[in-house]
Symmetry: D2
Subunit: 258 residues, 4 copies
């Protein structure tokens, strides 16, 4: 094994009478003394959040938990019908839909914001100039600008002002939020239609304000959705819908076979 990189991790370790997680004694310093949302912050960032970080981070996590009868929730319920003895598989099936279409918005928003503001430091550009550049680049490529616009919630996504209000109160309404607002306003002018900041966009900006690298943003969505999908499983156990959804689709496909 000479010449090999040593395996080193700060996540946790155990001995006969101790269990340590992220440098904290699990039984004596964490269990009963930290909430699940704060524990998620500790796991990802490596330290406990302060009160303001905790308030904002839990607000973000809560926003993403539940969106009704999504394709992901339906996949979880269908797989539970087929393999009820292995519900980890049902949750995993639904989580696999945390992809580009429904949940990639936070990641993509965080990515363009972080890349733009990194360049800005180097080139001392104004927020408005950065926003205008991002809008023009996307319009030229006929590409969707991440984080703005919503098929249903117009002219305002009702989650966004609440999230931004919490950010302001907790001191996390900085350049990332300002840039995303400038992008939304610039795009609305340029394209002459309603393009409000949607909830996933707002969350992308707020995770930037909290210092999260854009690559982990989708992981935050995954945590929230895991909670929501377990909620759907619990309802499916009380009131099964999957069989009905399946039988209708199968019957209709069979009728239309000719």
């Amino acid at each position: 094994m000479s010449g090999r990189k040593k395996l080193h991790s700060e996540m946790g370790w155990s001995t006969v009478d101790r269990i340590v997680v992220r440098g904290h004694d699990l039984p004596n310093e964490l269990i009963g003394r930290i909430s699940l949302g704060d524990m998620a912050f500790l796991e990802i960032v490596g330290r406990r959040p302060n009160e303001k970080e905790s308030e904002l981070f839990n607000a973000i996590l809560v926003t993403l938990v539940e969106h009704g009868m999504t394709p992901q929730a339906m996949a979880t319920r269908l797989i539970n019908m087929a393999a009820p003895e292995a519900i980890q598989g049902a949750v995993a099936a639904g989580l696999l839909g945390v992809g580009s279409v429904f949940a990639g918005g936070s990641e993509q928003t965080a990515k363009i914001l972080q890349e733009a503001l990194k360049d800005r430091t180097a080139q001392s550009l104004s927020i408005d100039k950065l926003a205008a550049d991002i809008v023009e680049t996307h319009v030229a490529r006929k590409a969707v600008i991440p984080g703005i616009g919503h098929p249903l919630h117009k002219p305002v996504d009702p989650r966004t002002p609440v999230l931004f209000g919490i950010a302001e109160r907790t001191g996390f309404s900085g350049d990332y939020v300002a840039l995303l607002k400038a992008i939304s306003q610039g795009a609305e002018r340029r394209l002459n239609r309603s393009l409000p900041i949607n909830a996933t966009g707002a969350i992308g900006a707020l995770l930037c304000e909290l210092g999260f690298p854009w690559r982990i943003c989708r992981g935050v969505v995954v945590i929230s959705r895991a909670v929501g999908l377990v909620g759907h499983l619990a309802e499916e156990m009380r009131n099964p819908l999957a069989r009905e959804i399946w039988e209708r689709a199968e019957a209709e496909v069979y009728e239309n076979k000719d």
Copy 2:
């Protein structure tokens, strides 16, 4: 569609300007007003937890988040190396290991406790009699009794007394906890070795005390582990270990091929 069951769900719905989750207005009643752990309780149970339920449920969730370099964490890291553009898949891969060996203990413990105490009501048996029956049945089948014993943490799993302390303080140390304690003591006497209540066993009993059906217990473990696996992904992004783990195994297999 005549004769078909109607699809009905209480998880949530949206209109142009409203988003409702479990009967609560998401932006105005939940975001910023409920923590992630309490949101998980709301999703599964259908109502917000009171303060005592919140304290106990968050303690349970926090206990299960992180266990160091587990097989699940390794699978998540290996899949992230192979498909870094789809981290939902990496988390899902690890969650698929929330199975019988490492995480089924809570579910199995909750199942035997709920089945025993349901019978008890009908037959007015004492806790001690129920415990003795469970121990004998398992010993006769040479089956492992769920919820007791630990390969490393002896003679006490340090998480168990902390969890049971919280249960007592919050008023959730009832018959399920009493029965599991009686099982542990009975098994130690019967088999003449140390068989302390382990953390997954304690959690199984406490989820019973909170009124959770045993079938959803593994879902609670899945929520916690999703948090932990995203933590491992965040570390893997900063300090990659998966390639080293893979290259060592591949090299050794190739050396031993003859």
Copy 3:
């Protein structure tokens, strides 16, 4: 690393100019010289099948590929809609439904047949006596007997006689098939209703005849279903159904919210 087990695997290895799989030179002995079905046999069993084994094993694999609009196919299509950039996740989501309800039959059938015939050698029991015991044990527990009965295909599952015909022609209609036939006939007499051997039951018996341990039988189903789910993805790309299935369910749930 002293005292550690050496990692040894016979699956395959590579050098600069060689790639060896299961002891065969991949480019020169396998590519273009072995079919996918035979390759699956080589991977699982460790040697190429002879012609008769190949005929039977491919027949088994082909039987399980496609069953129309199953819950698994629907989950694959729904996840593809949500994450079209990661189709490995869509296939994985569907495969997670290869569980006890729809696909566990082969595994369970193989298990009871292998356990019964292992005992038989020790106790020199007749096939009929073994079958009668299995039927009685299940009836006493009110348990479903694996491998027999079908909700739709009565009084005969049309796949079964074809599979058994191939088994006879190829010399693989031995004690496992005889025992399953005796179970089906015994159960029909005992319960006085039509309980024909279904396709998954037949396949369980035939995998026993081919020498497969029961624990790997579900893996054979997984291989076939992977083929079928990729077929559904290809159709979904040409003719998307997932969005329609989702939007109907969501709309109905929203209508019924009160």
Copy 4:
């Protein structure tokens, strides 16, 4: 349901005594009369392959089945250790690693070849001009050119000439193969190093020759890897490696914790 799109699928349907897959009677026309590889072609393309298509398609599928102790195989083995009762989850975990790093090459190669040759028809460009443009575009962006180069197999990937030989013999060595060869040669000249066509690149080109849209190419890889991962599971059941791999990593992480 007025105004709704009808659900229509050509995958398959059943009645009491018939099972039809892709327009063929499953028991009477497919089982025992088609191999697994040809069945995969039927599922994806909608018709049976002719002899030449069958030869090439099976060669492609066989190439991708097994690559030794890959990260995907390790993930499958680790998840099997943790959840041995649900092996569909273990296979799914490994398949989730069929992503950009190890298996995206076929998809990406097929995409650039199909896009280039579609443009060509419109603009009547030569193969060499198309290849030169592709090389220059990638060099300018400092991007890796898909389908060429290999970390181990130099100066030739031994699978490529075998696959191209079969393509020539079966009449499938057309413009896609010619373009990929021109890209490889052009890139070697331009960058002055060995950049042979690798196996995933060759397969991307050959799937184009068979008429597969690039978006389904990763699905073909998924089918092959499902076979290989079930092979690893079968070996893991006979000769478990996962626990050893896990315990070493855990022990080393614990040693290095300070």
